[in-house]
């Protein structure tokens, strides 16, 4: 469960000027649900996701993950969250197995349990063939598989995806979409930001549309279609247009 209440985030200071990235954002995302966070560039999506995953601290407001406050209990929150974005890098000089071992250890897994988890993930994502190859030698698709495996190495109940398919080819994007669907079936809480309406249509149970740090729509995709028609791109443009 993710609960965001009146979240505000202001960047910068006297030197570079102040930018209000989030202005009182509130929404909730339940287990077994995929919540899509939509918004144009600079709307505040990445800031919101980074606050939830504890990379950033909110200026005010509250973000709670599985009952844990991201500001007061960041370490505990991190143990419960898996974060993935399209441009998350891998250590090129390490093999896929070494990357997974490293992150497994950082999340407290050790010895046989860690090895068993890596074997399991290798099987699930079909990585056996390249598990011992250095990441710098892997294709984009292979890399993204390793990245997903890294994200879930500690079996997090909450998954945060920040534009995970941005810039990826169709096959790799499909693999990620499949993985998000699987997370939903496993009753994880999935928060997902994207620009691609087709993905929203296939994956999201509910969507929140934000613009300039404020939430302008929050509801199910069915409600969205009922209100604005079947063309979700058009619906998005209309909502953002009304907000501006």
């Amino acid at each position: 469960m993710i609960e965001i209440t009146d979240l505000c985030k202001t960047y910068g200071g006297w030197r570079r000027g102040r930018v209000e990235a989030l202005r009182g954002l509130s929404f909730a995302c339940r287990p077994g649900e995929v919540f899509g966070l939509l918004g144009p560039n600079g709307a505040g999506k990445t800031t919101a996701l980074r606050i939830i995953s504890t990379a950033l601290r909110p200026t005010s407001g509250r973000a709670v993950v599985l009952g844990l406050d991201v500001t007061r209990q960041p370490r505990e929150v991190r143990r419960q969250v898996g974060f993935l974005s399209a441009n998350t890098g891998l250590y090129g000089r390490l093999s896929a197995r070494e990357v997974l071992t490293y992150f497994g250890r950082l999340f407290g897994l050790q010895g046989p349990a860690l090895r068993a988890r890596i074997d399991q993930l290798s099987q699930v994502f079909g990585m056996a063939e390249f598990l011992d190859r250095r990441c710098e030698k892997l294709s984009t698709g292979m890399r993204q598989k390793v990245n997903i495996a890294r994200t879930v190495i500690h079996s997090p109940p909450v998954m945060v995806f920040d534009e995970p398919t941005s810039g990826l080819d169709v096959l790799t994007s499909r693999a990620i979409v499949r993985f998000i669907r699987q997370c939903k079936h496993e009753q994880r809480t999935v928060l997902f930001s994207t620009h691609i309406m087709a993905e929203v249509q296939t994956l999201c149970d509910r969507v929140g549309i934000i613009h300039e740090g404020r939430l302008h729509y929050c509801g199910t995709t069915a409600e969205l279609r009922a209100r604005y028609g079947d063309d979700l791109d058009e619906a998005f443009v209309q909502i953002v247009g009304e907000a501006a």
């Binding site: 990379a55 991190r78 974060f83 891998l90 090129g92 000089r93 070494e98 950082l106 999340f107 407290g108």
Partner: protein
């Protein structure tokens, strides 16, 4: 905490060691560049020394001056114990026994060399030419021939006076020199009215000759007691061969003087001590030859310690901080349950390891180069004997700078936006950080309690004392402490940077 640091340390070390750039700077440059540098230096020094030693110089001199100069050298030769040896070698009995080929550069020895200075000069010329062809090194007896020290002195003197001072000088008639249009303005006033001197000056500047010799009439009678006779050698000390000409004639005069003074003293029944009423007693130095040598090296050693630690730490630091930002891997790391302090300390320890390894590898390489690669010409006067304990102490010296650099570099690297920006910050730092390495070269500067608190300066000063065998553990502890405090401050700063969102996510 420890488990987290250890996990990060282990991974970062493996990652760093797989980076070719790091390996080049950490191990390859210190271990291979030093012996290569020493070997190249040796080759350059020895080949240029040998080349210069056997090079022929052209000196203009009129016939009387030439004859007087020849006579001086010949007279010196006749009084040399070597002349007696050569006389025996040229006796009919010995001539039937000795194969001239066995005499090396000396070759065929005409008996007239003892009576005719001109024949003597021609023979030295032929012998020197043979030496130039490589029959003889021209630098004295071969290393495997063991002669008593007085004899070695005589042989060296013979090479200097007969070979280099006469055989390898080609005399030129001043009349053959053509005067250039522009007169040489620096011609000494005493020679201004001398037309051949003016022509010679132009020729020296034009490098067609290397000197102009005037030996006055009295030179031939210098053996007799009388006022000092001055020989003139016009030369240009900024031109290599002209300076070589001056050095050769000067050496001849010194050797001739030595013998003439001895003869004069003998004639008056005086001992050589007559000329030296007082002198310092030799062999009263408490330092061993090895200690003296190490004390010299102690002056330059800190430079290498600091430079290698710098090189060994810089690239891993850039890679572990700014590099991680550039590759978009930092975010995943800070989203793990590790604290920012664990991440910073883990990375700091890896940089310390590489800086330390580079410094120790560099020092070991220097030690090996000095012992096995360094040329006798370069370290001929040093009787180096680095004991294991001294080697360990020198190794300990690398710890404080490695620690200090690791902290400093990590802070800079985390702050920097990109690999390039980090490089831009660190490159000028190199000059600032190398400055403390010069401290031991400043005269009158001794390590004290206050100085032991100045990071890096203390390392430089301490190295000199360590090498002399003057180990002051109190100063070492203070040095480690001060560098440790600097590093701790820098690591704390790096941890703070890890908490700053504008630093972590700026691009």
């Amino acid at each position: 905490m420890l488990a987290g640091v250890w996990t990060i340390y282990r991974k970062e070390l493996v990652d760093t060691l797989r980076d070719r750039k790091t390996l080049i700077f950490m191990l390859l440059i210190p271990t291979l560049a030093i012996p290569a540098m020493f070997a190249a230096l040796e080759k350059i020094v020895s080949s240029s020394t040998q080349k210069q030693a056997l090079e022929r110089v052209r000196i203009a001199a009129d016939e009387p001056s030439r004859a007087r100069y020849r006579q001086l050298v010949h007279a010196w030769f006749l009084q040399s114990p070597l002349a007696d040896g050569l006389r025996i070698a040229t006796s009919p009995v010995m001539r039937s026994l000795i194969d001239p080929a066995q005499l090396g550069a000396l070759g065929e020895i005409p008996p007239e060399i003892f009576t005719d200075p001109a024949v003597f000069a021609a023979w030295t010329r032929a012998a020197a030419a043979k030496a130039r062809e490589g029959v003889d090194s021209g630098e004295g007896p071969p290393a495997d021939v063991h002669l008593p020290p007085e004899m070695v002195h005589e042989v060296v003197a013979f090479y200097e006076v007969a070979f280099k001072g006469l055989g390898l000088i080609e005399f030129v008639d001043p009349g053959s020199l053509t005067m250039s249009a522009a007169p040489v303005e620096t011609l000494p006033r005493a020679l201004a009215g001398d037309a051949p001197a003016r022509a010679a000056a132009s020729a020296i500047k034009a490098k067609t000759i290397h000197g102009y010799l005037i030996a006055p009439e009295q030179a031939a009678e210098a053996a007799r007691a009388g006022p000092t006779v001055e020989l003139t050698l016009l030369h240009d000390s900024t031109l290599r061969l002209s300076e070589e000409a001056r050095r050769r004639v000067q050496t001849v005069l010194e050797r001739v003087n030595e013998r003439l003074v001895q003869a004069r003293l003998r004639a008056r029944d005086l001992d050589r001590d007559f000329l030296t009423p007082l002198r310092m007693r030799d062999g009263m130095d408490l330092a061993t030859e090895s200690q003296i040598a190490l004390s010299y090296i102690g002056g330059i050693l800190p430079y290498f310690v600091i430079a290698f630690a710098f090189l060994g730490g810089m690239y891993p630091a850039i890679d572990l901080g700014a590099g991680e930002k550039e590759r978009n891997t930092l975010e995943t790391l800070i989203l793990s349950p590790s604290t920012r302090a664990e991440i910073a300390i883990g990375k700091f320890l890896v940089i310390t390891t590489t800086a330390l390894t580079a410094a120790v590898a560099g020092l070991a390489s220097i030690a090996i180069s000095v012992r096995y690669v360094a040329p006798p010409a370069l370290l001929r006067n040093f009787d180096l004997n680095i004991e294991p304990a001294t080697a360990v102490m020198i190794g300990l010296l690398a710890i404080p700078p490695a620690v200090a650099f690791a902290g400093l570099f990590l802070a800079i690297s985390i702050y920097a936006r990109s690999f390039k920006e980090a490089q831009n910050y660190m490159a000028p730092l190199q000059f600032v950080l190398i400055l403390p390495a010069l401290a031991p070269m400043l005269p009158g500067l001794e390590l004290n309690w206050k100085m032991a608190l100045i990071p890096l300066v203390n390392v430089s000063m301490l190295s000199k004392d360590f090498l002399k065998g003057d180990t002051h553990w109190g100063y070492y502890a203070l040095t480690l402490f001060s560098c440790g405090v600097l590093a701790a401050g820098c690591v704390a700063y790096a941890v703070r940077q890890f908490h700053r969102e504008d630093v972590l996510f700026r691009s």
